[in-house]
């Protein structure tokens, strides 16, 4: 035993304990800030965190969560917070918090310094709904094409065709080669047929049967046998010809169906030309997407982002057999072992929230059971938040994260009614006036998810509206002018957005009362110009491809006729020889009948008395 060593260990442990007491606050604070920042995608700052090892509590004076979309703003800022940790679960590596109170929450507050972080610092998790969010963004960006903002829609068809590299031309050439090769094979096959030789043999055989020389029964028998052989040869050749006919018809059908694909290729080229020209379809639905799409999609995407994170986190806990990962060296993979009767690894039983929104709405609410594995507590995570202000605005938010069963489910209901729209921006679109002077609004949204199925609805209703028509710094284009003049007479704006389906098949629809109004005003002007450009491109694509297409059709029909004629010729030859054989057979039968009647007469005479 080394006594000096023992003393060293005792001193070392004491020093660690002492340092822990001194530095644990800043250590935990920076750890929590780093984890929060990485999850949030922008800085999370905690002020003056205090941790008591003896009393097991954590408290802080202020928490700021930066809005990742506007990094000089906090999405949420809190006042003082405090919570107690249970001691015994800590020994089992579990964090259980009975009650956690966050007071003085404020939303959308200003930051003193930028809360942006680099991409490397962001937590990267494969989003379950990434494809859905991407699809929605694509739907909106397809409509908001840069060219739409300008009505000078004179598509430069020459340069488009030059850049386009019409794929159908090379595809048609390939098909033409393929078809020619196939016809060459057929030509060779048909030329190798010995039908003409067979026909000549048959003809010689038929001619060799001399009816006048049939005198005896043996001669008759030999002639009949010859005719039978001729029939056999004709039948065999005919069957061979029929088989070839069938096979050729099948090949021709295949080739014809390949030729019909040419239309699809040309259509693809046309669509690519349109997309290069950036010419959108203008209809009522697209107008809604143009004006409200971006905002709606951002809202849905951020909901889906939170849900993806929640699901990704709980997925580790729910998997019966975790997938083998490839962690960095010496890091390994932590395996979770589920025990229904054990306490969860992480559990905040009650999280009480209270505070104010930027519109001075007093908020209060409760999030219950923020837990690592819901199955261990037999309950799901619920969120209830409500608030109001003295001007009659009310807000409620209810949410449910249900991970008790195999299929994860989430449900959100959000209602914000009676709020003032003064200075409110109902759309980020440049086509709507920047702000509203006065009006009241209602937003109601619902989102329900089960597995990868999404069903959501966002409705907005703005009443007694007066738009701020002061001109922006830049010059308005023609569309913006038309929209702004139409909005002068509008006092109500409603829109409803619906999204439904899975990432593979998603329906996304936005309708609003502005659709018809604006469609009538701008649709005819815009469509007339865009339709002309579309027609130009269509005409040009068709003219570029028509020569190749015509060549292809010509080759197909020429070769087809050639082969068919060849086969018909053989068919006719065979038919002629068959007729001859029939005639010969009839002659033989006639002779037979004659000889038979002669013989019968002789027999009768012989027996006459």
């Amino acid at each position: 035993m080394r006594w000096k060593g023992l003393i060293f260990v005792v001193v070392f442990i004491s020093a660690i304990f002492l340092l822990g007491i001194i530095f644990s606050d800043s250590w935990i604070e920076s750890k929590l800030e780093d984890t929060g920042t990485s999850f949030n995608g922008a800085r999370v700052d905690i002020d003056n965190l205090q941790f008591s090892l003896t009393q097991l509590f954590i408290k802080w004076d202020r928490l700021q969560i930066t809005d990742p979309d506007q990094t000089m703003k906090n999405r949420i800022e809190t006042g003082k917070c405090e919570f107690d940790l249970e001691f015994l679960p800590l020994l089992s590596n579990k964090i259980i918090i009975e009650s956690f109170m966050i007071t003085d929450i404020r939303t959308n507050t200003d930051r003193t310094e930028d809360g942006a972080i680099s991409d490397d610092e962001k937590f990267k998790t494969p989003s379950v709904f990434q494809e859905t969010a991407d699809y929605l963004k694509q739907e909106v960006s397809d409509v908001v094409s840069p060219r739409f903002s300008s009505l000078k829609q004179n598509a430069n068809v020459d340069s488009i065709i030059k850049v386009l590299d019409l794929k159908s031309i090379s595809k048609i050439a390939n098909l033409q080669n393929e078809i020619e090769l196939s016809y060459q094979t057929w030509e060779k096959k048909i030329s190798e047929l010995k039908i003409e030789d067979d026909v000549k043999n048959v003809e010689t055989q038929i001619k060799s049967i001399d009816i006048n020389n049939i005198k005896t029964a043996d001669q008759y028998y030999a002639a009949v046998k010859n005719v039978d052989n001729i029939y056999k040869t004709i039948n065999t050749t005919s069957t061979e010809l029929t088989d070839i006919q069938k096979s050729l018809t099948k090949d021709i059908t295949n080739m014809s169906s390949m030729v019909t694909e040419v239309d699809d290729w040309i259509e693809e080229d046309y669509k690519r030309a349109l997309s290069l020209a950036k010419i959108p379809d203008i209809n009522a639905e697209n107008i809604s997407k143009l004006i409200f799409g971006e905002r709606v999609v951002n809202q849905i995407s951020s909901y889906l982002g939170y849900i993806s994170t929640a699901r990704e986190y709980t997925r580790t806990y729910k998997s019966a057999k975790p997938e083998k990962q490839s962690p960095p060296r010496l890091k390994g993979q932590d395996i979770y072992f589920y025990n229904k009767n054990a306490r969860p690894d992480f559990w905040i039983k009650k999280l009480n929230l209270s505070g104010y929104t930027e519109n001075n709405i007093k908020l209060s609410g409760l999030i219950s059971n923020i837990v690592s594995d819901q199955r261990q507590i037999g309950d799901n995570t619920k969120l209830e938040l409500k608030g109001n202000n003295d001007k009659g605005a009310e807000v409620t938010l209810n949410g449910l994260f249900d991970y008790l069963t195999e299929n994860p489910k989430e449900n959100f209901n959000f209602q914000y009614r009676g709020f003032s729209l003064a200075d409110y921006k109902i759309s980020n679109s440049r086509f709507l006036p920047n702000k509203i002077k006065r009006g009241t609004g209602l937003i109601a949204s619902k989102l329900a998810l089960e597995s990868n199925q999404v069903e959501g609805e966002i409705a907005f209703n703005g009443k007694n509206l007066r738009f701020d028509m002061s001109l922006p710094d830049r010059k308005l284009n023609e569309i913006e002018k038309i929209i702004q003049s139409a909005l002068n007479d509008i006092s109500t704006v409603n829109f409803s957005a619906k999204v439904r389906g899975t990432s593979e098949k998603l329906d996304f629809l936005i309708t609003s009362n502005l659709d018809e109004i604006l469609m009538n005003k701008i649709g005819s002007i815009v469509n007339e110009r865009f339709e002309k450009a579309k027609a130009d491109i269509k005409r040009r694509v068709d003219s570029e491809i028509s020569k190749y297409r015509a060549d292809l059709n010509k080759i197909v029909s020429e070769k087809q006729n050639l082969l068919q004629n060849e086969l018909n010729k053989y068919e006719k030859l065979l038919a002629v020889e068959k007729n001859r054989a029939d005639e010969k057979k009839e002659e033989i039968e006639e002779i037979y009948e004659k000889e038979k009647s002669k013989l019968e007469d002789k027999i009768k005479d012989f027996f006459k008395p």
Partner: protein
């Protein structure tokens, strides 16, 4: 240069006053700490044992450095073995689940594939390594040491002033 220093250190340890048992035990403890991820409960306990009990610390450090490098190289093997033990072996699942919720044991990070995989290999190797190391030390002292001392390199080192200084100070603090 590092290789020569390491060799010199090893020779120094082998020629020290420590018993073969102390050297072998130090070597095994260093091996376990080196093969398994450092910040684990069992390593902390082993370090305290190393400090408190009369085991050769120099050998442990040498062995720790050696096996840390080996551990880095064969880490994927540890991960696969750990995954096999923790996930694929259905029969052990109840046992692991029991440990997962057991106070203090849960802090040992045994549920990490590399920790459990490397620990198992280290434990399997510890007994044979101990006996091999012990036999090796005895064999060295009896058969090899006298020959090595005759090497010109060793003579040169021993003749240097630095070595004389080391000889003077090496027993201070024992």
């Amino acid at each position: 240069m590092f290789g020569i220093e390491l060799l010199a250190k090893l020779i120094k340890i082998l020629r020290s006053a420590a018993s073969p048992h102390q050297i072998a035990a130090g070597f095994v403890i260093g091996m376990i700490i080196g093969l398994t991820p450092f910040w684990t409960l069992h390593n902390m306990i082993l370090i305290f044992i190393l400090i408190i009990v009369n085991i050769n610390i120099g050998t442990a450090i040498f062995s720790f450095l050696l096996f840390s490098a080996i551990a880095y190289l064969i880490d994927p093997l540890f991960h696969s073995l750990g995954y096999f033990l923790l996930v694929d072996m259905e029969g052990l699942k109840d046992f692991w689940t029991f440990l997962y919720n057991l106070p203090l044991v849960a802090l040992s990070r045994y549920n990490n594939t590399v920790v459990i995989g490397s620990l198992l290999i280290a434990l399997i190797l510890s007994l044979p390594t101990y006996f091999l190391a012990k036999i090796g030390v005895i064999y060295y002292r009896e058969n090899i040491d006298s020959r090595i001392q005759k090497w010109k390199l060793i003579q040169a080192i021993k003749g240097s002033k630095i070595y004389s200084f080391y000889e003077k100070i090496r027993n201070i603090g024992d």
